[in-house]
Structures are given as structure tokens and as C-alpha cells.
Symmetry: C2
Subunit: 194 residues, 2 copies
């Protein structure tokens, strides 16, 4: 039984495509790769997604909707701000632990010069939303004296995002799986005790 054998064909295509983008990049996989893994023909993939750009856009839209939903879930639980940030980092940690996968948008960001314009726009929105959500949590934490940092909540949100994305990239390049977790935890610890 294949790893992505649940759901509609359309969803299964997106499942495999997402994993391949996160491991090999947008330019690192082909319709043939998808077809082979799914046990179908490339023509069937073109039925669901006429072009690779269509597939890319659909992938990003699903990913962003899911990510937004996860952030809403974290916010809804109403834990303290530091816990919310820890859970945000946990999303990235879970991804990296799954076969050293990068954040989908971190990977696409690197390749942005080669992407269809629509896909690049989705990547941009992902980071804007993430930065906004992080800034809210950081501002709340600072106001409640649960965390301390110099400068604006927005500046700190940008730093946190850079730390998480960068830690994934370097951890992968160094082939040191524990690297990501170490950096993420150090950052959160510093935020608490600063």
C-alpha cells in the first residue's frame, strides 16, 4: 500500500507533490515522479491539474488554508503567549522531523525566481500571515510580562521566523537532525528569560 493512498486522486496528487517540493524543490520533481509514486499516468495528473503552475497554485492554497487553520487552533486554545510560540515552532519541528522536510514556503522562497508569479504571490502571503500571527503573540507576551525583548513585536516576529526557516535549512545542509530543535528551543528559552 502506497503512503498516500487515501482521499481523492486530486488530494493524493497534492500529498505527493507537497512532499516532493519540501524534499526536492519545485524544480526537483516532475509529473513522471508523481505518476510513478501514485501508480497512475502523467496524463491523469494533467486531467486534475492542466499545468504544473496550476498544481503549484492549488498546493499553496491548500497549504495556506491548513496552516491558517492550525494557527487558529493554537490561538483558540487560549494558552499563554509563550506556549503559543512554542506550538508554532512545534509545527515546524514536526515538519522537519518528517524526513528532514523544509517548510513548503521556505523551500519555494529559495526557488522564487523560477516560480510562476501566482505561486510566488502565495509564498509572500504565507510569510506575511505568519509574521502577523507571531507579532500578535509576542506583543501579548510582552504586555503580560511573560517575555522580554528589545524593539517592536514585529521586529521580533521577523527574527523568530528567520530563526525557524534558517535552522531548517542549516540542519538539512549539515545533515544534523538535532540542530533544528536545539536552535528553536534556545530561542524560546532566551525569549522567556531575557
Amino acid at each position: 500500500m502506497k503512503s498516500a493512498s487515501r482521499g481523492s486522486t486530486r488530494e493524493r496528487i497534492l500529498d505527493v507533490a507537497q512532499r516532493l517540493v519540501q524534499t526536492r524543490g519545485y524544480n526537483g520533481f516532475s509529473f513522471h515522479d508523481l505518476a510513478k509514486e501514485l501508480g497512475i499516468r502523467t496524463a491523469s495528473i494533467h486531467y486534475h491539474f492542466p499545468t504544473k503552475a496550476d498544481l503549484g497554485v492549488a498546493l499553496l492554497q491548500r497549504y495556506r488554508a491548513r496552516f491558517r487553520s492550525e494557527l487558529e487552533g493554537i490561538s483558540a486554545k487560549g494558552g499563554d503567549p509563550l506556549r503559543r510560540l512554542t506550538q508554532f515552532a512545534g509545527l515546524f519541528e514536526r515538519t522537519f522531523k518528517t524526513g528532514n522536510q523544509l517548510c513548503l514556503c521556505g523551500m519555494l522562497s529559495a526557488e522564487v525566481a523560477t516560480l510562476p508569479q501566482e505561486v510566488a504571490g502565495e509564498v509572500e502571503h504565507f510569510f506575511e500571515e505568519s509574521e502577523g500571527w507571531l507579532a500578535d503573540a509576542l506583543a501579548a507576551g510582552k504586555k503580560a510580562h511573560k517575555m522580554a525583548f528589545a524593539g517592536s513585536a514585529n521586529a521580533q516576529a521577523r527574527m523568530f521566523l528567520a530563526v525557524l526557516e534558517g535552522a531548517m535549512v542549516v540542519a538539512r545542509g549539515m545533515r544534523r537532525t538535532a540542530y533544528f530543535q536545539g536552535v528553536a528551543r534556545d530561542y524560546l528559552a532566551k525569549l522567556k528569560h531575557a
Copy 2:
């Protein structure tokens, strides 16, 4: 006059290849792209580099040698540790300011699953050397009470490297050129005043 018209053909090939990897990725350019920009034929490129893997290895060896030389230059000037770190960040800033280029190894790190094993090994060494150099500067700065941070110099070096690599990735994805500089400066300021 082409942008890379100085030096031997071999060097000019490497110049163009490096820029293309840093902007489009290893899987985002072809021998045809190189040939077109250089005004030669793909067969001529194969004369200098029989395979793309050979080109990749040569590119990384040159890049690492140059980077090591720059780090030695910074160390040789013997400024205080914080200044050394600022200059390290300056190397990355200069790269990003040149057409939003990523760190060569940051880009290749994302694509590591698709790279020839030899190239992946070079990427790994790049990060190991960088981490070591940064840890030395951080340890010296802490000892001299010029900077303050919790935990080991190695942990802090990993964090700094993640910040720089991640800031490049996010800045590119958000198409916000100032993002990188902001994050890098905030990090250095915090190191000083912590």
C-alpha cells in the same frame, strides 16, 4: 560587454554558474543557460566540466576557498569580536544586496536531496567551518565581556547562522529587501546589549 567577461573561460563559467545557482538553484539552470550568457556553446562548457556534477564540485571548492579567505582576512585585521561578527554578517548582506542572491550553500542546502553526493559534502563542510569560526568569535567576545548570551558559544553560533540564512530566505520570499538587514542588525544589537 557581458557581465562576466574577465578571466579564463573556466572562471567565467563558474561566475555565471554561481550567480544562477544563487538566484535559481542547482536545478533551475542548464548548460544552455550558461552557454547563452557566455556566448559559447554547451559543448565548450563540457570541455571544462565534463558533467554538471563536476561543475558543482568545482563551484563549491572555489566558493569555500574564497569564503575561508574572507574569514581569515577578517580575523587577521584583529578587530574586537563584535566587529568580526558584524563583518561576517556583512558578507551575507553584500550577497543579498546583489540581486537578492542567497548564500550559495543556503540555496544548495534546500536542494540537497537532489545533489551529487560530493556537492552535498561540500555544503556540509561550509556550515561546519562557519559555525566554528563564529563560535570562536563569540567565545572571545563573551570572555572579554564585550557581548552577553546564555548557553555555549557553539549554540549561539548555530543560532546566528540560522538567523542569517533564514533572513535571506524569508526576505526573498516576502520580496522585502530591507528585511535581511533589519534582522541581522537586531540580532547583533541584542548580542551587545544582552
